[in-house]
């Protein structure tokens, strides 16, 4: 058996924490090796060491049997190691080819030889079935295409060992499926893949071997074929995890949110939401599912006030909030976990404690006569950190920017759930979170439902929609194409509706009338 990469007894300390404790990772050539662990388990640190961003305190690395010292990413590149980062590093107004050759431009004399580069990009793209247009501009192509550009970037540099850092976090179910096929194709062509993820389903689908980390320690390495998702989840979290969301039947009450004939323009100036009507009742979770870009963002921003509407009405209880300022909507009992955590959810240069009071910093006990009460803000932060297990280096004083993506997400969810709004717009609440945290947040959302709140859950994760929702509305091309009972529907039926092939508008359980 030949290992292409071996990381032996790697230990890495950060101030106050041992991020990697005697970890050994051996990767077979031409395989897909998954690295599984919760947020903060040490996956990123281990990969950063392999990629030359950090130096291990002890332990050694071997590539193709030879001991190496990877002092910086250039060394990693020359060893044939490439990485697709979770957040893409692309220049938006450059073309695909320009991005790929950036830093190693082929040239004829003083002029960049873009032609031959384009040809090479096209060849590689064809070989691996990536279907990328080398002349397209990054800003004009979809997120999944951008990810393929990142993959092409590595292949263009002759990488043999490809590290994928949470590659599916930004993709729709269909795109995930396509990515899996691309990964298999890469392995067929002789590449080796290291997949960092906490999605068990994907590991089961595509990986050969899985190494599990927990709190900086190696839990074990298993053959994926010989294990199941429950077993891997248990290894990762350290206890039994229930995949099924425990919930009793919904007891829907009065209508708390009612949308009538709503029209909203999207960024391109076209109607992103078309004549849409929808209602959510107290004590129920209405799931909204659809392929990304079918009007979910516009709908959510119209309800929450981030976008102006063209026409229509949005009733919260019986007050039309469609044209009210955001503040008044919040005061009337509207809550929102935003889709984009770094754009809307957090002020990254604020501390965690400051971020927790962003809605009510001016209210008692956080302020008195316009003067901030730092002690109350700190206590509030400590309580939320405990309750939601938000992990951060310096507790309430940690700058949000210094936290990992998963913990940023937890912080937003903690803040919003803690406010317990009557009408709760929850968008992608568990994006980037591990199973343990997902389980907890789902439980809290159900608890809110059982307290009689109306919850609109918008998610691209079909499993999440089906597990948590009571009713499911499917949005396609800005319109609701069907509302079904979550217990009675199937993934297949939803998939057909999401692609616009099936309409079930009249099957809605209750007629909409004023």
């Amino acid at each position: 058996m030949s290992y292409i990469v071996e990381m032996l007894h790697i230990t890495k300390d950060f101030p106050g924490i041992r991020a990697n404790d005697d970890i050994t990772l051996q990767i077979e050539e031409k395989s897909i090796h998954a690295l599984l662990g919760e947020n903060g388990a040490g996956k990123s640190t281990l990969m950063s060491i392999l990629f030359g961003l950090y130096q291990p305190d002890s332990g050694s690395i071997r590539v193709r049997g030879k001991e190496v010292k990877i002092s910086d990413p250039n060394v990693a590149t020359s060893l044939g190691i490439g990485m697709v980062h979770q957040h893409f590093k692309l220049v938006h107004n450059f073309t695909v080819t320009e991005n790929i050759i950036l830093g190693m431009e082929p040239h004829k004399g003083p002029v960049i030889d873009i032609r031959s580069a384009e040809k090479k990009v096209e060849e590689i793209s064809k070989l691996y079935g990536l279907a990328v247009d080398p002349r397209a501009k990054i800003e004009d192509i979809s997120v999944s295409m951008q990810q393929r550009v990142e993959i092409l970037k590595m292949l263009f540099r002759d990488a043999e060992i490809l590290i994928f850092d949470e590659p599916t976090a930004v993709l729709t179910p269909q795109e995930i499926h396509e990515l899996m096929q691309i990964m298999r194709r890469l392995v067929e062509e002789g590449k080796t893949i290291l997949l960092i993820t906490h999605k068990l389903k994907e590991i089961k689908e595509v990986a050969d071997v899985c190494t599990v980390l927990r709190r900086g320690k190696l839990v074990g390495t298993v053959s994926v074929a010989d294990t199941d998702e429950e077993r891997m989840a248990e290894m990762m979290v350290g206890r039994q995890v229930s995949f099924h969301v425990e919930k009793g039947p919904a007891k829907p009450g009065e209508e708390l949110l009612r949308i009538e004939n709503l029209n909203v323009k999207n960024v391109k100036g076209l109607l992103g939401v078309k004549n849409l009507s929808l209602s959510v009742r107290a004590g129920e979770v209405l799931g909204l599912c659809g392929i990304d870009g079918n009007g979910q963002t516009e709908l959510v921003q119209a309800i929450t006030g981030l976008t102006k509407i063209e026409s229509g009405k949005i009733f919260l209880r019986n007050i039309n909030i469609a044209n009210l300022p955001i503040k008044e909507r919040t005061d009337l009992g509207l809550g929102h976990i935003p889709e984009d955590r770094q754009k809307h959810g957090l002020v990254l240069d604020f501390t965690l404690g400051e971020n927790f009071v962003i809605h009510n910093y001016y209210e008692k006990p956080f302020a008195n006569y316009g003067i901030l009460n730092k002690k109350a803000i700190l206590e509030n932060a400590e309580r939320l950190i405990r309750e939601f297990d938000v992990r951060s280096g310096q507790g309430a004083m940690t700058p949000a920017r210094a936290m990992s993506g998963g913990n940023q997400q937890k912080a937003i969810v903690a803040r919003e759930i803690d406010r317990s709004p009557d009408v709760f717009i929850v968008v992608q609440p568990t994006r980037g979170l591990d199973v343990g945290a997902i389980e907890y947040i789902h439980k809290r959302i159900i608890a809110e439902r059982d307290r009689g709140k109306a919850i609109l859950l918008v998610s691209l994760e079909l499993d999440e929609i089906m597990d948590v929702s009571d009713r499911i509305a499917v949005i396609y091309n800005g319109e609701i194409v069907g509302i079904v009972d979550a217990a009675a529907t199937t993934e297949n039926e939803l998939g057909l509706m999401m692609s616009g092939a099936l309409r079930k508008t009249h099957a809605a359980p209750q007629a909409v009338h004023a």
């Binding site: 924490i17 316009g370 280096g393």
Partner: protein, 364 residues
């Protein structure tokens, strides 16, 4: 390296590098860097290292006079900056503050306890109004504040000169009639203890301004929302903050600090309204002070003293045969090095990593 340490160490290194570069240039021109340092030390303290003269309070007084207005314009730039705005308008706001102070000083007759506060208040309001205009244009029509504030500086300059020449009727075409003493910050007592320097009570409003700046930014809900808007406008909007109102308020308060600087000059250093030939550079010095001071009150105080300490000795340097422009070069290169802080940080981090390989990174 932690952010707190960064905030202190990086500017200090920038200052050091600025002086090193200044010394090199002096040496290149064939003069002695030592003579330059001697002139600088003498410029703010009166101590003459080379000829053994003791501390002279007159120099200290003049040095403080130099530092006061640029601390205020530094606060002005920093305040707008904390809300994410880049205001070049301190120069013009200062002129309008100065003109407002002149107007109240000349037209109102009252005892000092009423007259002087009125003069200062007028300057603050004048500057605030001048600052609020670009703030309004930014909030309402999204006109970029850099363009508007630069243009407002020209309008302020010529408006000031028009009023002084044609409305107050300057006799010598340079200045107005002298103000009544009830309108002045001048103090015979302060002058006497500093050997007849121009030191005046102006430092009291400056200290108050520093305290108010720190208080608003760090302690109040208003400061919280200003900082939120400055760091992330979208998140502030999501949280329901009135982003546009904050932009106008921030620009107005920035203008108020600069307006006060106008009063400190006009009724402190001088005692008459002046015709201004061209921008005097208080605004740009303020930008430098705010950048070096990291947009924090204490940092601005120290950076303001540093820049004042480089301005005060310029005549002396000239007399020592060292071009006074060297002081400007040092100040400019300090700002440049502050702007290069990421580069300096990279070098430091590398150094730190070599020293102690286990203390890097704060992400878990």
């Amino acid at each position: 390296m932690t952010t707190r340490k960064e905030k202190i160490v990086l500017p200090l290194i920038a200052v050091l590098l600025g002086f090193v570069l200044g010394s090199l240039i002096v040496a290149l021109t064939g003069r002695s860097p030592l003579a330059m340092y001697a002139a600088i030390v003498k410029g703010f303290s009166g101590i003459d290292i080379l000829n053994g003269q003791p501390l002279n309070s007159r120099y200290i007084g003049e040095f403080i006079i130099q530092a006061m207005p640029i601390i205020l314009t530094g606060l002005s730039f920093a305040f707008a900056s904390r809300t994410g705005l880049f205001s070049i308008g301190a120069e013009g706001q200062l002129m309008i503050g100065s003109l407002s102070a002149t107007t109240v000083a000349l037209l109102v007759r009252a005892p000092t306890v009423i007259h002087l506060p009125l003069v200062l208040l007028a300057a603050i309001l004048g500057g605030a109004l001048w600052g609020a205009i670009p703030g309004f244009l930014k909030a309402r029509y999204n006109v970029h504040e850099v363009v508007v504030t630069i243009m407002m500086n020209y309008i302020a300059l010529h408006f000031n000169n028009f009023v002084i020449l044609h409305i107050f009727g300057s006799v010598d075409r340079v200045k107005t009639a002298p103000f009544p003493t009830t309108a002045l910050l001048k103090s015979p007592f302060l002058e006497s203890i500093t050997r007849n320097s121009r030191l005046n009570w102006g430092f009291i409003p400056v200290i108050l301004a520093l305290l108010i700046f720190a208080f608003i930014i760090n302690k109040t809900t208003f400061g919280y929302s200003l900082r939120a808007v400055g760091y992330n406008k979208e998140a502030a909007r999501y949280a329901g903050m009135k982003v546009n109102r904050n932009i106008i308020a921030s620009m107005a308060i920035a203008g108020a600090f600069a307006g006060l600087a106008g009063a400190v000059i006009t009724v402190g250093t001088f005692n008459f309204g002046r015709v201004i030939q061209s921008a005097e550079g208080y605004g740009f010095d303020g930008i430098a002070v705010a950048l070096v001071g990291g947009n924090e009150a204490l940092g601005i105080l120290l950076a303001g003293m540093l820049c004042g300490g480089l301005k005060a000795p310029q005549p002396l340097m000239q007399s020592q045969g060292i071009p006074r422009e060297i002081a400007g070069i040092i100040q400019a290169s300090i700002v440049l090095f502050v702007a290069m802080k990421f580069g300096i940080k990279m070098v430091l981090d590398k150094f730190e990593r070599k020293q102690a390989p286990t203390t890097e990174g704060d992400r878990v």
